[in-house]
């Protein structure tokens, strides 16, 4: 009977869907005991039969195979496990351990994903957890030191200041060196879009907590698929997706406190008046003049001396808080992720605020086995507000810049008069003179704060919808439409009251609204197949169409009818249109990628892209780009397996690539045209030349070679990656300087003329120091060495001189790195007379008496130093940089820290010239060491009023060029995860509390506020200048994560 049944069963089994065994099981992480969601479980002997574990780590699997059978359990980032199942009665308990075998990771590449094993270019990946809980506005601010080859720092300490990001160096001179940001396949806007002093980086509209991972493509072979926009590298951001199973809810909230650090100590009122008057006396002694001593101490009515520390009026403790709730989950076919976010942040500057309300919805529907639809959408409403901090590009010398005002305003006058009114000059509205017999052209920051405002707010949508169709296993057809749309409104207001800076025009308000729309449609057709087990082929063809429009319009109104009005909509007498601009740019691209894998150890990828860019000249709009890359998994070679123990070295892989990408990121949509703009002459309309075009304007191209080696050692505990790269950029689009006497607009014409290279090596290492059930300690470090050199410009002798404020601080010249520091060379202070000794262009030593007289050291009159006497004063680009990151876990405690470091560069500390300037500016206490007596050896010259040379007031001097080397503790975090035991039977599944310090400390010889500041933002040609730039704060954060 039994036998008979068996035979029947055997015969009909293949047709019988119902006759199956049910295996149930539970998958957990070895170390944490947390359920693993989304691990795949298949029966090894049965093809195509697999399930994924749900939100509680459980799975149910029907199989026709009888016991004993073997289950294969796989999960990204964990070691795969085979489990022999002998009976199905009980749930199978499976525990997986994390795997640091890097090759099994999946990396996001252009228009798809690849396993690291197959990936043959150069990439750095960063986990979203590294950015999600930091007190930042946009995720890019948390990436410093996290990826080899990527140099990154906020340009200044104002909230939402765009980061200066350089992937393998400066890749252009005139065009943007910013990488392309692609969020879930949507190329998005980056860099500052504000039209006033409130910085506004639209990347801050992405909630950092929504980010799952960040992948940075660094070599041309990887980026070529993004063609024209990828010359600065590509940063691919993937947001979180839901997973099948019960819904999970997370709450993440933090509160933080930020303070300014490393501010210089300034003279007090008594020192100030004494030293300023000393400078006047010195001047009189030099030329026999009879200047009066204009600086006097002012007394309050109670007899006390007015002694103001202006920093108190400019800086504050910024208190910020951030809340995020997300809910994710799904069924087998539909998954979703939904989040809302609120962030309210205060900067270290009074009046510098940021607020974001964001909502995200991501969903994916596997409609059938062969069709999947996915949708990502993010809407943010964000608000930026800031006084002029003097930190945004071009505002270093602003008479409103509070960074400078905090230091240089005279301490012997107050912010307020005794009657409680603002201390302002009744004529000019600038700071009142107090008892000083002098007038100050700078403003009272306290009055400005009350009487002005600058805001920039965004209404920002980023979203895409995508289908993936797999009619047969080998073919994948995708189509995606994406939209990035920003509506920005930037407003600035200055009251009619004295002290606002606009009192003479009766107050003013400027509203500029701008709309940025970037639409992208792309479709790809992919074919993947394996032939005869050894040959794996993957082909992709695609088309990408991008349509970009910008539309600005605005108005400036002056003369308010009543000082009640703070908004444009109030009563104003004069209205003039301002800020108008319309732009359109289209890209059309066709691309192709083919990958071939032989024997799972030889990998070949080639890609090609033909890119059309409407901003380039007619007949030069299309460019062909592409790359070839090769990978060899040496450790899988039989000879290698025999030669070395697998424990010693494994996953040894060599990658080599060569590729050519273009850069057509011209700021102006119509650069190739010679244009005439309309304006008014009196009341008559006019046409004026506004732009000199170039009919031959074409692509910048960069040819990049990348050779990389990666391996694991000590049983995968150590992972090492090495890379050499050589990036030759040719046909650089330069604003080629035209002799001003030609009268060309802007004295320059964009042309493809220059060349330069970036060469270097990268090294990164990840070491699992400890990994057992109680202790887990992981250390990683990365290091990049880079050399940049300009090899050609428009002519052999030509140079591009670039300015910070009104001073020519940088030069780009053949044989030097882009934007090298430039200025007068100073040697010492002459101990005999306290005069600064300079080296003139002819190499002779000359000294300056402070009153316009230049002499040789022997007293003969010398020619006054001018632009002819400038020297290249040093390389402004860091030659080496990197980071050290350590994560430790012990019984629910976590201690994480990340350092970043950089160096090999020089910084021009123009801020120092500000705080030692011999006009009415207050000076730092270092001026107390000034030269006073013959024979005295000091680096501070004799003080002479009006001396704008010896202290670098009007010209950059080499005395203020300093080494930029530093080591910064970017972040240190201490966290505690409540044990499960405590939470048992409570509806809360997980509790994590943490505290962290951002910018905890910095070790540097640099005497300014911070060696990473950039007075000129992302400009390529004026790096390394710190000029009245606001520093970063130190932030203490306390946070709480809850999982329900």
């Amino acid at each position: 009977m039994k036998k008979g049944l068996f035979i029947i069963g055997f015969a009909i089994a293949p047709l019988l869907a119902a006759a199956q065994n049910l295996i149930t099981g539970h998958i957990t992480d070895v170390r944490t005991g947390e359920p693993l969601i989304g691990a795949s479980v298949i029966v090894k002997s049965e093809k195509g039969r697999g399930v994924v574990s749900d939100i509680d780590g459980n799975f149910k699997l029907q199989t026709k195979v009888e016991a004993p059978l073997t289950l294969r359990v796989e999960f990204v980032g964990y070691r795969a496990l085979d489990v022999d199942v002998y009976d199905f009665e009980e749930p199978v308990e499976i525990t997986l351990r994390e795997n640091y075998n890097s090759l099994s990771e999946v990396v996001v590449v252009g228009y798809g994903t690849q396993s690291r094993k197959e990936f043959t270019g150069s990439i750095s990946s960063i986990n979203g957890a590294d950015v999600s809980q930091r007190p930042i506005q946009s995720f890019d601010q948390a990436l410093a030191g996290h990826a080899a080859g990527v140099s990154l720092a906020a340009s200044n300490g104002q909230l939402n200041a765009p980061s200066v990001i350089r992937i393998r160096g400066v890749n252009s001179i005139s065009l943007s060196s910013l990488p392309l940001f692609v969020i879930d396949g949507v190329p998005v806007y980056s860099d500052d879009i504000s039209t006033n002093s409130a910085a506004n980086n639209p990347l801050s509209d992405i909630n950092p907590s929504d980010i799952e991972s960040i992948d940075i493509l660094k070599d041309a072979a990887s980026t070529a698929i993004y063609g024209s926009r990828a010359a600065g590298g590509v940063i691919l951001v993937t947001t979180k997706k839901g997973r099948s199973g019960r819904a999970v809810t997370h709450y993440n909230g933090w509160v933080s406190f930020t303070n300014a650090v490393r501010l210089p100590e300034m003279l007090n009122a008594e020192q100030y008046t004494a030293l300023k008057n000393e400078a006047i006396t010195n001047a009189n002694n030099i030329d026999g003049g009879n200047r009066s001593l204009v600086y006097q101490l002012q007394k309050n009515s109670d007899g006390s001396i007015v002694d103001t520390d202006w920093k108190d009026y400019v800086y504050r403790t910024g208190i910020s808080h951030n809340h995020n709730i997300d809910i994710s989950g799904g069924t087998e076919n539909i998954t979703y992720y939904f989040s809302v976010n609120y962030s309210n942040q205060q900067g270290i500057f009074q009046g510098n605020n940021f607020e974001r309300k964001g909502i995200r919805f991501n969903a994916e529907d596997r409609i059938t086995n062969w069709l999947t639809l996915s949708l990502n959408s993010n809407y943010s409403s964000s608000f930026n507000e800031s006084p002029d901090t003097g930190s945004r590009p071009g505002s270093s010398m602003s008479s409103y810049g509070v960074t400078r005002l905090a230091l240089v305003l005279p301490p012997n006058v107050g912010a307020y008069n005794e009657d409680g009114t603002f201390n302002v000059n009744p004529v000019s509205g600038t700071l009142g003179s107090g008892a000083n017999n002098s007038s100050f052209p700078l403003y009272n920051p306290e009055a400005r704060l009350a009487l002005t405002s600058n805001t920039s707010d965004n209404s920002h949508f980023i979203g895409n919808i995508k289908f993936v169709l797999r009619p047969v296993k080998q073919i994948t057809w995708t189509g995606q439409y994406s939209l990035d749309r920003i509506n920005n409104e930037s407003t600035s207001f200055a009251s009619t009251q004295l002290g606002s800076g606009a009192s003479s025009s009766g107050g003013s308000v400027t509203n500029i609204t701008s709309r940025f729309i970037n639409e992208d449609f792309n479709t790809t057709l992919g074919y993947d197949d394996i032939f005869g087990k050894l040959h794996k082929i993957s082909l992709l063809v695609g088309f990408d169409y991008q349509h970009n429009t910008t539309n600005f319009w605005g108005a400036r109104a002056t003369k308010e009818s009543d000082d009640f009005f703070r908004y444009y909509q109030g009563g104003w007498a004069n209205v003039v249109a301002t800020g108008n601009q319309i732009g359109e740019r289209n890209y059309i691209s066709y691309f192709f990628r083919a990958s071939y894998t032989l024997s799972d150890r030889y990998f070949l990828t080639t890609n090609f892209r033909r890119d059309g860019n409407s901003a380039l000249a007619k007949n030069h709009k299309y460019g062909n780009f592409g790359g070839l890359s090769f990978g060899w998994l040496i450790s899988d070679e039989p000879f290698f397996k025999h030669a070395l123990s697998k424990d010693a070295i494994s996953n040894l892989k060599l990658n080599a690539s060569w590729g050519r990408v273009g850069n057509g990121n011209i700021t102006n949509d119509y650069s190739s045209f010679s244009l005439y703009s309309s304006s008014l002459y009196g009341d008559a309309s006019t046409w004026d030349i506004s732009q000199q075009g170039n009919d031959n304007l074409s692509w910048e191209t960069s040819s990049q070679t990348n050779i990389g080696l990666s391996f694991d050692a000590f049983k995968d505990r150590l992972h090492v990656e090495l890379a050499y790269f050589n990036n030759n950029v040719d046909d650089l689009i330069l604003s080629v300087p035209q002799s001003p006497s030609k009268g060309i607009v802007g004295n320059s014409i964009l042309s493809n003329v220059g060349s330069m290279y970036n060469r270097g090596v990268e090294f990164s290492l990840n070491y699992q120091v400890l990994n057992n059930k109680e202790w887990k300690w992981n250390v990683s470090t990365n290091f990049t060495y880079l050399k940049n050199e300009v090899t050609a410009l428009s002519g052999d002798e030509s140079a591009i001189i670039s300015y910070t404020g009104s001073g020519s601080t940088n030069i780009t010249k053949i044989g030097y790195s882009v934007g090298s520091l430039y200025g007068l060379k100073t040697l010492r202070v002459n101990p005999e007379n306290g005069q600064r000794v300079f080296l003139n262009g002819a190499g002779e030593e000359v000294q300056y008496n402070g009153l316009g007289k230049w002499t040789y050291l022997d007293g003969r009159t010398a020619k006054a130093l001018s632009g002819d006497d400038y020297y290249v004063l040093g390389n402004a680009l860091p030659k080496w940089y990197g980071g050290i990151i350590s994560n430790t876990e012990w019984r629910g405690f976590e201690l994480n820290f990340s350092f970043s470091f950089a160096g090999g560069n020089k910084i021009m500390n123009r801020s120092k010239s500000t705080i030692t300037d011999q006009i009415f500016f207050n000076n730092s206490t270092e001026v107390l060491d000034r030269w006073t007596t013959p024979g005295q050896d000091t680096n501070i010259p004799r003080l002479v009023t009006g001396d704008r040379y010896s202290f670098g007031g009007s010209v950059p001097i080499s005395e203020h060029v300093e080494n930029g080397d530093f080591l910064r503790l970017q972040n240190i975090t201490l966290a505690y995860n409540l044990p499960k035991k405590v939470l048992n039977n409570v509806f809360i599944k997980g509790v994590r509390i943490y505290g962290q310090i951002d910018n905890a400390f910095i070790l540097t010889g640099y005497s300014g506020v911070d060696p990473e500041l950039s007075a000129n933002g992302n400009s390529n040609t004026t790096p390394g200048v710190d000029y009245n730039t606001g520093g970063y704060g130190r932030t203490f954060t306390f946070g709480l994560n809850l999982t329900f």
């Binding site: 059309g612 045209f673 010679s674 011999q918 009006g946």
Partner: protein, 490 residues
């Protein structure tokens, strides 16, 4: 069955993808990449209509109205270098280095003024090219426009040669002058160009102004246009200044006669625009900007306000970077300039700062004072100086008195003041009074090869005096030109 359905779907999917791809390919091949500006005209179409050419003509004036030129700074520089103004604030950026005569070849004022004047020159040259070949305007219109262009080019080069070149009077124009750009520049070619000699530059200026005189209309329909666009008498008036700078007094007399035909007051032009002195000088500043006294002024309106800092703010209103020199070296201390002189109303004591300020330009928010370029009283004084220099002292006295008596009708010059040996300096002083704050003082010092005197200071700026042999007697060639034009110092 299911299989069939699947195939159907695949087929339809494939068909659809082909359709979409081909649509997109069509898009790709079409004009999607041929985007053009919606807010600017391209050079290809800007000369295509009469109205646009009129707009371009106005654009030439506009290009001389930039921040460092006739928005006000050009006026400022002329006065600041000399002794009548004192820098009051610590702001070196508003002409401070020019005031103290401590500029270098990298000073912003030096480079910007050079660049903006040459930008105007290139605009003019491009306009001349475009108009010359235009077939949308009549020959008469063409001549009119060319006349304006030549006039403005002459004006621009006159400023360049007087600011940046050794005075003609020093060596009869033998010194190196400035590069003479007469061709429209629109490419990267021709960066290198030697400086022409001062005399060649003057030759070109006079040729342009002569052409302008020939081609310009005698007058326009409105007073506004007569003031803000060049007419025949404008060219003649400017020539009196140009020849004076060359020290060619007979030529000055010849030109002046054309618009000052009388030998005794009242003086006025009898052909073209009837230029004449107004009864009250204060009418000209703030009353009516378009009288016949204002031969050429640059208009300011609420929608076309000065770029940069306006003269009213600089001298009079809130900033007051420069106050009048109240010491004995300043012209306001001159005893012959009496209190009842109407021109004294331009000297206003500001209680808040305890200084005298210049009140010729007073309009703020918006700053709509017209900026004067040529006034009839200047022509009279130019004529007076030239007459005196060529021996016609009697006419010189008539011209001088016409200017003085307009504002102080009871003043009698002493015989000494009017004596042949003295009258030229009397005229010079009258010029300082009459044209105070109108940017002509520095030129008069330069052409007479005098020394820029030292002056008091109210700030930490330390002014120096410069004599004809000092480096900073004239503006240096800007460093930016030296960097890009390898022939500039040849």
């Amino acid at each position: 069955m299911r299989r069939n359905y699947l195939y159907k779907y695949i087929l339809s999917g494939a068909a659809r993808s082909i359709v979409i791809l081909s649509i997109l390919t069509v898009i790709g091949c079409s004009d999607e990449l041929e985007t053009t500006s919606k807010t600017s005209l391209s050079s290809a179409t800007v000369f295509s209509t009469e109205a646009r050419i009129e707009g371009l003509a106005n654009g030439l004036y506009k290009s001389l109205k930039t921040a460092n030129l006739y928005s006000g700074y050009l006026i400022l520089y002329g006065d600041l270098r000399a002794e009548d103004f004192v820098c009051r604030t610590e702001n070196a950026l508003t002409g401070g280095y020019v005031w103290s005569n401590t500029f270098t070849n990298t000073t912003g004022d030096i480079a910007n003024t050079w660049g903006q004047l040459y930008a105007a020159v290139n605009n003019i040259n491009t306009f001349i090219d475009g108009v010359s070949i235009s077939n949308v305007i009549s020959e008469a219109q063409k001549n009119h426009y060319l006349g304006e262009a030549y006039f403005l080019r002459g004006l621009a080069y006159y400023h360049l040669v007087t600011l940046y070149a050794t005075p003609y009077t020093k060596d009869d124009g033998a010194s190196k002058g400035i590069p003479l750009r007469l061709l429209a520049e629109n490419s990267s070619e021709h960066n290198d160009l030697e400086r022409s000699s001062v005399s060649d530059v003057y030759k070109q200026i006079i040729q342009d102004l002569d052409n302008a005189e020939r081609l310009l209309p005698e007058s326009y329909e409105t007073n506004l246009l007569n003031t803000t666009r060049a007419h025949r008498n404008t060219a003649i008036a400017l020539k009196t200044r140009v020849y004076l700078s060359k020290g060619e007094y007979t030529k000055v007399v010849d030109e002046a006669k054309k618009i000052v035909p009388q030998t005794a007051a009242p003086f006025s032009a009898t052909s073209g625009v009837h230029s004449a002195l107004q009864e009250d000088i204060t009418t000209v500043f703030g009353g009516n900007y378009t009288t016949t006294e204002s031969i050429l002024s640059f208009p300011m309106t609420s929608s076309d306000t000065p770029l940069g800092v306006s003269l009213s703010e600089t001298f009079y209103a809130n900033r007051i970077d420069y106050v009048l020199n109240s010491s004995e070296t300043g012209i306001i201390s001159d005893k012959s300039w009496r209190e009842n002189d109407r021109r004294r109303s331009f000297v206003v004591f500001n209680q808040n700062i305890g200084q005298n300020t210049l009140a010729k330009y007073k309009k703020v928010s918006p700053s709509v004072d017209y900026v004067p370029a040529i006034r009839y009283s200047e022509v009279l004084l130019n004529y007076a100086e030239a007459s005196a220099s060529t021996g016609n002292v009697a006419l010189a006295v008539q011209l001088l008195q016409a200017v003085r008596h307009r504002s102080d009708d009871t003043y009698e010059f002493s015989a000494d003041d009017l004596a042949a040996g003295q009258i030229i300096s009397t005229i010079a002083k009258e010029k300082r009074i009459e044209l105070l704050g109108e940017g002509l003082r520095a030129n008069d010092i330069l052409r007479k090869l005098e020394t820029f005197p030292s002056k008091p200071t109210l700030s930490s700026m330390n002014p120096i005096s410069v004599s004809p042999n000092d480096d900073n007697y004239i503006f240096p060639i800007p460093n930016s030109e030296i960097q890009t034009n390898s022939l500039i110092n040849k």
